[in-house]
Amino acid sequence: MNRFSLKLFAVIIVLLCLRPNLGVAQTDDATIKGKVDGLEERTSTLESTVSGLTKLKITGYVHPQWVWVGIDTLVNPQFTRSFFQIRRGRVKFSYKSGDIGAIVYPDITEQGVILKEVYATWDFAHDKGMTMLQLALGAMNRPFGYEIAYSSSAREVVERSTSENRLFNGERDLGVQIAYTPSFGSLKPVLELGLFNGSDNFGAGPISDVGNSNANTDLSSGNLSFFGTGAIQGQTDITKITPKGADSLYILNKVNPAITGSVASGAPLVVANGWKQNAKEFMGHLRLPFLLSDEFSFDIGGSWSVGGITPPSDVEATYADGGKLVLAKSTSGAPHTFSQKTGWEPKGLFLSNRSVIGADLQLYLSVLPIGGTIIKGEMYTGTVPFYGSPALIGSGDTAAFGYATPVLVKKNVFGFYAMLVQNVTDWLQLSVRYDAFDPNTNVKGTDFSTATSASGPTVNGVSYLKAANNFGGDLALNTLTIGLNFFVQGNLRIMLDYDHAKQEEFTKTVAGTLVTQGSPNLDKFTARMQVKF
């Protein structure tokens, strides 16, 4: 074997040795390529799945808190106590795909789970790529004022104002809403219009507390309660300083309706649990934001709400100054006509037993070196219906009606708040709010007396008797709140709030003798930990 042969032999051996390896390499390449292709497919599938998931957002916040309440001995002092509470445990599921969206928003507290919001949205008109018209259908925030839509997780004090709590309890309702957001240069107004069932908390009714009202007031013992007697109700109401029974009708002066007709026998005129405001409520809010500069901007807004109550009462009444109750009209027409019946009689949607208007203003200033300043104010006024006791109708009147007839009473309400928020550093914020609500502007605390007292005032030649001995809810309530917000981390806030609430001064006289006089106080301290996610 020569050297060439040896070399050739060596090359053949090497090639033979390599051949299987080359084959393995090719096999490996094919395997790897297959694996890569498989991974690509899986990645593609995963991307598609993840892309779908990005359309679903889960956000929320929790509000565990400790509350101490001190109640004046002038009223029911047994409510003085402290307790732990989960005010909110919100998880919001928001789905948005193109122009279509859906919200499911449960609230989880120690008392159970309830759905606060469930609604679908459709952005059906656009301007320069931005949504201009949005339709929403379901259970959602009612478009009224500023406070309702302003999230509790952003609010600078622990609770909304008394007016909002009383007039729009629960904030949400079932209905349909259209939001119109046009753009006029730098001015971008927002107009929201909604038609709702007109019942708070999914049918519980805006005046569902009527049934609890009787226990709240006990003038005969000289006590006046801020709250209802139910344990849970009392606790929840304490945290909101929402006097229950306040909207009830136990303050009243008897009436002389000057009846000219009579009421035929018929179906009961009220439902058992108070009036159901199911004749729909039409409401809206217009907001005009003025972003003038980084340092100064303000928003102004106006709102209205008109709604009916069914079944309507055959007897409606309104208050006059001094607590006089005047029967105003019969909704059934003849033969239930009363001499006071005057003016236009609305029908259908415009049977607006409830009519509230509002105005709001928010000012934002960033001129102080310590931090920005926010000033907010809001006003509510209108006429709100309540269920009146059959006892309102005197025996002579009852005879005229044929049976004891409950009365639908309209009260004039007025409320407002003014709030100053000052950022002291990036992590500390001070807030002060003065909040007032008068559930019956025609009645003063000093109008109250007992049924056996002397006659009431005489108006237009008609003598009125003074009211029965129960009252309480018609007293105005003023609350001063001072709060500190510590923004500890991005998603953690500690809130310390002190509320001092004071009811309008009242007097009780028996047979012309003053037996009780005063302005009940309530003090409340809340320490809340808010975590957002």
Partner: protein, 284 residues
């Protein structure tokens, strides 16, 4: 005399105490920390600014993180960053959130200009695209390179996550708020987009001009009959390049003294030189 001496002693003691206190204060005084968070497009630029500034200002510590413009704006609202970097202007909804919390819609500072660049692989024959074509490509209506003058091959889309300001800017300005195609692969940063396009002969991506290394930059025309411009310094500076944007700093309110000094420096000659070095364009 004794009294005078003792007075001197007291003065000396006081002076010594003051010096000691000053020294202690100097040694133990915590360095001022400025946090910057936001745009991934700006993260390298912000890091260069921070490194250079800290070299000449030893008492200042600047921490830079990315995450996207949207993430930075959220951090500004939540109070977890001092400065937010953003490759798009703040949206009205974000301004209102900031205002609700701090009473101010925030301070906007333009720190650099950028031509949002469309990248393709260097082997790709396509050199120019119109707004409509880019929109068609990224919304998935145009799927093959041959439809825009290239070879017969599927277009592979690379882009950014929806927290990215670049993502939002292209969507608003070129896609006219239409949704991106589901087929777009969302990359975690502009560098990742560039790397993907570099490897993929049929890939297309977008991002800041400063990142276009090893890929081909597409010249862009606004209308189909308009002249196409490449994202050169001149074209971006003059505004001829149609996808030009500013790169922003956002603050909650007027800056404190240390932050103000840093901002002054960023907008000064040294800071703007770094802008150029990083492939962006100075604002002045």
């Amino acid at each position: 005399m004794k009294k005078i001496m003792s007075m001197k002693k007291v003065q000396t003691l006081l002076a010594a105490s003051a010096v000691f206190a000053a020294l202690v204060g100097f040694v133990f005084a915590p360095a001022t920390t400025i946090t910057i968070k936001g745009s991934d497009t700006m993260v390298q630029l912000a890091q260069r600014w921070a490194e250079k500034y800290m070299k000449s200002n030893s008492g200042v510590n600047i921490q830079v993180t990315g995450g996207g413009s949207g993430t930075g704006i959220s951090a500004l609202i939540n109070g977890t960053t001092d400065i937010c970097t953003a490759s798009r202007p703040m949206k009205d909804a974000e301004k209102l959130k900031l205002r609700d919390r701090y009473g101010s819609t925030g301070k906007e500072i333009r720190t650099a200009k950028d031509g949002l660049t469309i990248y393709v692989n260097e082997a790709n024959g396509v050199s120019e695209l119109s707004f409509d074509q880019i929109k068609g490509i990224y919304t998935g209506k145009i799927k093959n390179w041959k439809d825009v003058g290239g070879k017969d091959a599927d277009i592979i889309l690379y882009g950014r996550e929806n927290s990215s300001g670049t993502y939002a800017f292209l969507k608003e300005v070129v896609l006219e708020n239409d949704d991106y195609a589901n087929a777009m692969q969302a990359m975690p940063g502009t560098a990742a987009v560039v790397n993907a396009v570099k490897r993929d002969p049929n890939g297309v991506g977008f991002g800041g001009a400063g990142y276009a290394k090893g890929v081909k930059e597409i010249s862009v025309r606004k209308g189909s009959s308009d002249q196409a411009y490449n994202p050169s310094a001149e074209n971006v500076a003059s505004g001829n390049y149609p996808i030009t944007r500013y790169l922003y700093f956002y603050l909650r309110q007027a800056p404190d003294a240390e932050t103000k000094e840093f901002l002054k420096w960023v907008l000064g000659s040294e800071g703007q030189e770094i802008v150029k070095n990083e492939g962006f364009f100075p604002v002045k």
